[in-house]
């Protein structure tokens, strides 16, 4: 199992000759993504920080999506999830995703509620 590697990334767009080559290819890809993130974080283009999608800045959406992309390639190629059986991969990936999404949902909604309470109630928190 572990000896035969799937050597394609980007859904077969890029096919490597050996596993070693694939590793370097993934490294280059991850470095590019990190560089883009850092560059955007330093420049902070105005059209990205002033437009919102679902209540969050577009820039932050880009950061989060790029993070998930990086996480995907680390898990799939460095942790060899690409070469594992489908059942094992799904168990590993979807269980935490489900639990974390639930956690994010309840905690962030609660925090937002507390924020409105701080703002609208009759007690001042900055005295």
């Amino acid at each position: 199992m572990a000896h035969d590697h799937k050597l394609e990334i980007f859904r077969g767009l890029l096919k490597f000759k050996s596993n070693t080559q694939k590793i370097w290819g993934v490294l280059i890809f991850l470095s590019i993504v990190t560089t883009v993130e850092v560059a955007l974080g330093i420049i902070k283009p105005r059209f990205l920080t002033h437009s919102y999608f679902l209540g969050m800045k577009l820039l932050n959406w880009i950061f989060i999506i790029l993070t998930l992309v990086k996480a995907y390639y680390i898990a799939w190629d460095f942790m060899h999830l690409r070469d594992e059986k489908t059942a094992l991969r799904r168990v590993i990936v979807w269980t935490p995703i489900f639990l974390v999404c639930y956690l994010i949902f309840i905690l962030l909604f609660e925090a937002d509620y507390i924020y409105t309470v701080y703002g609208d109630e009759f007690i001042t928190w900055d005295f």
């Binding site: 199992m1 572990a2 000896h3 596993n19 070693t20 590793i23 370097w24 993934v26 490294l27 991850l30 470095s31 990190t34 560089t35 993130e37 850092v38 974080g41 330093i42 920080t49 932050n60 950061f63 989060i64 790029l66 993070t67 990086k70 996480a71 680390i74 898990a75 190629d77 460095f78 942790m79 060899h80 594992e84 059986k85 059942a87 094992l88 168990v91 590993i92 269980t95 935490p96 639990l99 974390v100 956690l103 994010i104 905690l107 962030l108 609660e110 925090a111 937002d112 507390i114 924020y115 701080y118 928190w125 900055d126 005295f127």
Partner: protein, 324 residues
């Protein structure tokens, strides 16, 4: 791994020896651990999100907090963290290369790549220690108000942050550090600031080009700058000087920011540290030829899984602590 042992139970599903997921026992347990650890880290990061959403208008801007690079003076937001991220990804790569060499039973290459991985991990832990030291030591200094809000100072002419030393007066007063042995035993001071509150306030009143910056974020996503008149009335609310950050006071802004910084990066740094230790143990086993004799390098693969996981967590910490 592929050895066939005849136990007479091959036809029975419950007879043992089945690997329905195609992974060995040890690897499965490593994945179990990684998943539970991932949920722990998610708990921390979501708790950070909780506190941040609760104080969304007051939260410090990470770009203004982490601006230092070792051996360089000046304002370089994020460069050093980006470097740390790169180091960790790089050591992840050498780890995969070690696993790959292990599959091919090349002992010499495994040794080399494991060594490089350990070096990368050590550089990362060292960088994190430096980040902590810089964060604890502080930058410009600030004052804290009665309600626990932080007021920072800005030079009105240049628009840049002003350090306490730039405008504070040195007054002929003698303030001794309060130690537990000379007074009430439960009321010692951790550290004494370089200027007393009185010196900062008097210096502020005497220097007309210094303005106060509050924690409040305005619509541009920047901290609110008060004019001179507002600043003069705001400074009266100050009740202590804060230099640097600890678990109770934080000159960069909301104290929870410092708490989460210490907690999350500390917990991650501890993971990297234990990863380095485990890597060293495996490294010596490789040198001794343990796995060469065993016939497979699955142990390197398992420790590799842990190492990549540490990298994976850092990718998220980097995003949610430094970028977003």
């Amino acid at each position: 791994m592929d050895a066939t042992v005849s136990t007479g139970t091959e036809d029975s599903v419950w007879g043992g020896g089945n690997k329905p997921l195609g992974a060995s026992y040890g690897k499965m347990m490593m994945w179990f651990f990684i998943m539970s650890d991932a949920l722990t880290f998610s708990g921390f990061l979501v708790a950070y999100g909780f506190s941040r959403f609760k104080f969304i208008e007051l939260w410090p801007i990470a770009d203004e907090v982490f601006t230092h690079v070792p051996f360089f003076h000046g304002n370089y937001p994020m460069y050093y963290v980006a470097f740390m991220t790169f180091i960790l990804i790089m050591s992840s790569v050498t780890m995969v290369l070690a696993v790959d060499a292990g599959h091919k039973m090349k002992q010499k290459s495994v040794i080399l790549y494991m060594f490089l991985t350990i070096i990368g991990g050590a550089i990362f832990v060292g960088s994190q220690a430096w980040e902590w030291a810089t964060f604890i030591k502080g930058d410009y200094g600030a004052v804290e108000t009665n309600s626990g809000r932080i007021l920072q100072f800005v030079n009105a002419e240049t628009g840049e942050r002003a350090a306490l030393a730039d405008f504070s007066k040195t007054l002929p007063e003698d303030r001794v550090k309060h130690v537990e042995s000379k007074g009430i035993w439960f009321a010692g001071e951790g550290y004494q600031t370089s200027y007393s509150l009185n010196e900062v306030v008097e210096g502020f009143k005497a220097t007309p080009n210094i303005l106060i910056r509050t924690e409040q974020l305005n619509e541009e996503g920047e901290k609110t700058l008060l004019d001179r008149k507002e600043s003069l009335s705001k400074i009266l609310e100050a009740n202590q000087v804060v230099e640097g950050a600890n678990l109770i006071h934080n000159e960069y802004g909301h104290r929870l920011f410092a708490d989460f910084f210490f907690f999350i990066t500390g917990f991650h740094g501890f993971h990297v540290f234990s990863g380095v230790v485990i890597n060293i143990i495996i490294f010596f086993n490789v040198i001794l030829g343990t796995y060469q004799r065993r016939g497979h390098y699955e142990m390197v693969e398992k420790v590799g899984l842990y190492w990549h996981f540490v990298d994976l967590v850092w990718v998220f910490v980097f995003t949610f602590f430094y970028l977003v």
